[in-house]
């Protein structure tokens, strides 16, 4: 299994950040997107469990709504990207998936292409190294840094146990990292954006960041070539724009429900046509 350095950084940084938060004792996790090559899996993106996850010290169930939206955004660049596995953390030192994990994951991989998945377990029992300047691998399937450890396993359909899987790093991005800073905003809007996407297939996404912070731009092409309706979603606001004949117009239309806002604006444009 190949992890990009971007994915490796995300996992260690966000696990450390999670442990410092109010819900730091709970389990957390990430869905992994990547490529299934002939001989190996390459992990290229992480989709966090989300603030709306259902979790405790003994379990975690991800909020999948924002993960679905994020997968649509990330896969705009490469349609080969698929779900290759799941990482979750244990608050103690259990470095191996539990029996409960085996039952659930066994059924899950049976319905996946290739009938196999990779699974990571995060624990806070890594041995700190002097200075902690970089991660090290005490064993081929483990990575440790700053007291944190990720242990990696593979599970195929019908397996009675997980198999430790060697992990290697390569230079590359976490394709979803740009979304993590606005993940709670994605969670808030995900259902309505998903509904809009299913109804308006030309809808496209762009991720942007400026002095006002991160934002997600929805672009819906209109009938005239080059014209589009644009919705900028930020943590505290939703703004609507119209790109017409090369000119960008801001629309004074403040509807925080994105799908309703788009359809009201389309109706207004149709009435004026």
């Amino acid at each position: 299994m190949l992890l990009t350095d971007g994915v490796g950084r995300t996992l260690f940084e966000e696990f450390a950040s999670h442990r410092s938060e109010a819900r730091g004792e709970e389990e957390t996790g990430w869905v992994l997107l990547g490529l299934r090559e002939a001989r190996e899996v390459v992990v290229l993106a992480t989709l966090p469990a989300g603030t709306l996850r259902d979790a405790s010290v003994a379990h975690v169930r991800f909020n999948s709504n924002a993960q679905v939206l994020a997968s649509r955004i990330v896969r705009q660049t490469d349609r080969r990207l698929t779900v290759v596995g799941v990482v979750h953390t244990h608050p103690g030192s259990l470095r191996h998936p539990s029996d409960g994990d085996l039952r659930g994951d066994g059924q899950w991989v049976a319905n996946r292409r290739g009938k196999e998945g990779v699974f990571g377990i995060g624990t806070a029992d890594g041995v700190a190294t002097p200075g902690d300047l970089f991660a090290y691998q005490p064993r081929s399937h483990m990575q440790c840094m700053k007291g944190l450890r990720f242990s990696w396993y593979s599970l195929r359909q019908g397996d009675s146990a997980y198999r430790p899987i060697p992990v290697e790093l390569t230079i590359g991005p976490d394709l979803a990292r740009c979304l993590h800073g606005m993940w709670s905003t994605l969670e808030f809007h995900a259902e309505r954006i998903e509904r809009l996407y299913r109804q308006q297939s030309p809808l496209r996404f762009e991720v942007m960041s400026d002095e006002w912070g991160p934002g997600l731009l929805l672009i819906l092409p209109l009938a005239e070539t080059g014209d589009s309706l644009r919705v900028l979603i930020r943590p505290k606001e939703v703004r609507y724009y119209l790109l017409r004949s090369g000119e960008l117009l801001e629309v004074h239309h403040h509807d925080e429900w994105v799908d309703r806002g788009v359809y009201l604006l389309l109706a207004e444009l149709a009435a004026r046509a």
Binding site: R75, Q76, R80, T82
Partner: protein, 60 residues
């Protein structure tokens, strides 16, 4: 005959497909009716990805 220009996403997908074909012999799919680009054999549908995400089991 339609000479519609590709949008950014379509252009990126086509470039990736051409690169995959040149470097790794990956097949490029073509619409038999109008010879338009239909993606590559390695592409995964949204439905498959979304089904996988939504069915991730509870972990313990």
């Amino acid at each position: 005959m339609d000479f519609r220009p590709l949008n950014d996403t379509e252009r990126r997908q086509l470039i990736n497909a051409l690169r995959g074909n040149a470097e790794s012999d990956r097949a490029i799919l073509m619409d038999r009716r109008d010879t338009s680009f239909l993606g590559t054999a390695d592409e995964v549908t949204d439905e498959e990805v979304i089904s996988a995400i939504k069915s991730v089991p509870c972990h313990y």
